[in-house]
């Protein structure tokens, strides 16, 4: 009888995974092998020690927290689409300043033609919760990140919709929060921004870094474009940083399986 078989049978017995034949085999083994009996005893003691850790009751508020945080497909609300703002090399958008010149500047900057991310993509109704429910159902979520801290809640969703790659950033902040999104190692680049009435007050794009300052409930959706289909997905990350008053609050990354 090999040591490996001893370990396998004794482990399976401890885990309730033995069939009748194996049970007979194990009984013979235990009768003949002190080593098997010692191993069986060890597993029993581990079981006994771990069984001292009781099942815990979750905090009383957890259920309502979860229900308050989650939403179902049909609960999504449609928000007005302001338009797509194409990504030039570097630009800064001040929401209210932009509003005053919206007619002139945005009319020129909005994507009138289809972006270059793919011939089949349709971006007319793609944006996060902007999309109607039937589109949401078809959404292919590549990765997401969410967190809640004192006075700050955010959810970032990377999804493929109708062939387009979208990064949807939602934030609800009591005080101004700065969000930096870096695409440099993501195998994708920022192609356009969707503007809506809930857009953050300040948006800046420098190279492949998107910087946003937001307060209150804000949403921003970015249209991405893959630049290297052969890149290893392991190294592809969209890096996120949330900070306030210069203090780093959260750092995370999205690792999409393209």
């Amino acid at each position: 009888m090999s040591d490996e078989r001893i370990l396998e049978l004794v482990s399976a017995a401890a885990d309730g995974e033995l069939n009748n034949d194996e049970r007979v085999e194990l009984d013979r083994l235990l009768a003949a092998s002190p080593e098997a009996r010692r191993f069986q005893s060890d597993l029993g003691r581990i079981q006994s020690i771990l069984s001292r850790l009781p099942e815990l009751d979750p905090p009383e508020t957890l259920h309502s927290r979860v229900l308050g945080a989650v939403s179902l497909p049909a609960a999504k609300t449609r928000q007005p689409l302001f338009g797509w703002l194409r990504h030039p090399a570097t630009f800064t958008v001040l929401r209210y300043g932009m509003a005053t010149i919206a007619g002139a500047v945005l009319a020129a900057a909005l994507i009138e033609s289809q972006p270059e991310f793919g011939e089949t993509a349709d971006i007319s109704e793609l944006v996060g919760t902007i999309a109607p429910d039937r589109d949401r159902t078809a959404a292919d979520i590549l990765d997401s990140y969410a967190f809640r801290a004192d006075g700050l809640e955010s959810r970032v969703l990377l999804e493929r919709r109708n062939g387009a790659l979208l990064l949807d950033i939602q934030v609800d902040a009591h005080s101004p929060v700065d969000i930096a999104v870096r695409f440099a190692a993501a195998g994708a680049r920022l192609d356009a921004l969707a503007q809506n009435e809930n857009a953050p007050e300040f948006i800046e794009i420098a190279g492949q870094t998107l910087r946003v300052r937001a307060r209150g409930r804000r949403q921003l959706t970015a249209l991405l474009r893959r630049v290297d289909d052969t890149a290893s997905e392991v190294t592809e990350k969209i890096e996120l940083e949330f900070s306030s008053d210069g203090k780093l609050l959260q750092r995370a990354s999205l690792t999409p399986a393209w």
């Binding site: 482990s11 309730g16 581990i46 020690i49 815990l56 949401r136 159902t137 959404a139 995370a252």
Partner: protein
């Protein structure tokens, strides 16, 4: 919850039924919270991870594959979220005290509480890959097949990882004087 019930609940959630959502959360929040706590050793983080896991679950509810069991999918998301949380935080954060009532405790129950805290601390010392299989086996009582489904590992790998995890746990318990030869 049997598989038919799971599928019906998921279908109702996909159709936007918040009562189904409530039922699903109520059924799974405690085991998910417990698994998260055993992974993290911190009640606040366990609650945050549970919340985030459910957010992801419902964001992706339309992608649930009914060929698999719902609990496998939910545990997979929750454990991945717990591991992400471990990776995010400082390696040297102190372990919080477990949430056991300590008022008017007798000497015996104080000792028992200390022992629970010590065992959880030992659990936190082993690698998260090994802690994951320990949590699934001992705290969620999953079978090899179920652990394999949750972690997307072959059963053979599950057995071998569980063996290594137990060895590591035993060694750590011995180092802390909780497992005498």
């Amino acid at each position: 919850m049997d598989k038919d019930r799971e599928i019906a609940l998921v279908r109702d959630c996909q159709q936007g039924d918040r009562k189904a959502l409530d039922t699903l959360v109520r059924h799974f929040e405690k085991p998910v919270y417990n698994a998260a706590y055993r992974m993290l050793g911190n009640v606040d983080e366990a609650a945050d991870v549970t919340q985030t896991a459910f957010m992801k679950i419902f964001e992706n509810i339309n992608r649930f594959n009914p060929d698999y069991r719902l609990f496998s999918w939910i545990y997979r998301i929750a454990l991945n979220e717990a591991i992400d949380q471990i990776n995010r935080r400082s390696k040297h954060e102190p372990l919080d005290e477990p949430p056991y009532p300590d008022r008017n405790v007798s000497e015996d129950s104080a000792a028992a509480s200390q022992l629970r805290s010590d065992v959880q601390a030992v659990l936190m010392e082993i690698h998260e890959d090994h802690r994951t299989v320990i949590v699934l086996r001992y705290f969620t009582e999953c079978s090899y097949r179920q652990i394999g489904e949750i972690l997307k590992l072959p059963e053979k790998t599950v057995k071998s990882r569980l063996f290594t995890a137990r060895q590591q746990l035993k060694n750590r318990l011995q180092q802390h004087g909780m497992f005498e030869e």
